[in-house]
Symmetry: C2
Subunit: 133 residues, 2 copies
DNA sequence: CTGCACCTTCCCATCATGGTAAGGTCAAGT
DNA sequence: ACTTGACCTTACCATGATGGGAAGGTGCAG
């Protein structure tokens, strides 16, 4: 099948399929006489795997590792679990950071009347809040 | 003062100070005879404002708006509050998305023995989890 | 006068993705 | 046979926020 159908089936844009080929995440696709790329269900399966890993927030490099582990019948499940735990820890760190930002903003916002007058604790906070490095 | 000291005082890298000038977030700095940029405490104040807004996750475009509101004595605090609420909503959306990823990953991970054997629900999930959407 | 810290501009890289331009391929309709 | 339109190809540029590095100028202290 052509790249467009592969894209429709997997939810990965044609643009990204070509990109994944360029960076070696997937092997070079077969070509028809027309020079069009040609995909089979093995390729679809691999792209689906990548798509789901992306949806779960894995980076390209992590997906590269996951694909290697997927194809390695002698891997231990501990390897996969370790990679996943690392990613969970990364997510936790980001979630925590954004939660702190949110809390600070909510505090400032709650102190702001939000009316027609110019006085605003949010702007004042930004203008003079002490550093915490 | 030179850009290095401005950087030290504000926690904004010299690289980024030049960048903010290039994109018009701050006015072009005065120059000494040496062509070195020269900063005063007004500039330091503005850079500190930017730094704190960045730390709270505001985008450059949002900071541009905040700086305009900061300088506008006739603004209403409602304008500032609205911008802040928009940003809080964006943060909430990201936090929720990452929380969903985290929960899915935690479920897969909990089902994985994490031992020497190759069987792994995480890999199996990625290889065949049905699409949702 | 030399060394060193600092500054300047310019270009390139990241990460994942999209846009666009210029052109080739193919099947269906006239 | 010819046109139309959908599809494909490569190649280049853009995003946002930041860093790296090269090549060269400035200024001060030893």
């Amino acid at each position: 099948m052509q790249i467009g159908e592969a894209s429709r089936l997997t939810g990965v844009s044609a643009k990204m399929i070509r990109h994944y080929e360029a960076i070696g995440l997937i092997p070079s696709a077969d070509r028809r006489d027309s020079n069009y790329r040609d995909y089979g269900h093995h390729d679809i399966h691999r792209l689906g795997f990548i798509r789901r890993a992306r949806d779960l927030g894995f980076s390209i490099d992590q997906i590269r590792d996951l694909l290697r582990l997927w194809g390695d019948t002698h891997r231990s499940s501990a390897d996969v679990k370790a990679l996943t735990q690392t990613h969970i820890a990364e997510l936790d760190a980001k979630i925590r950071l954004m939660g702190e930002m949110r809390a600070t903003l909510a505090n400032l916002s709650a102190a702001c009347d939000g009316d027609h007058r110019p006085d605003c604790p949010i702007i004042e906070g930004l203008a003079g809040m002490p550093h915490r490095h």
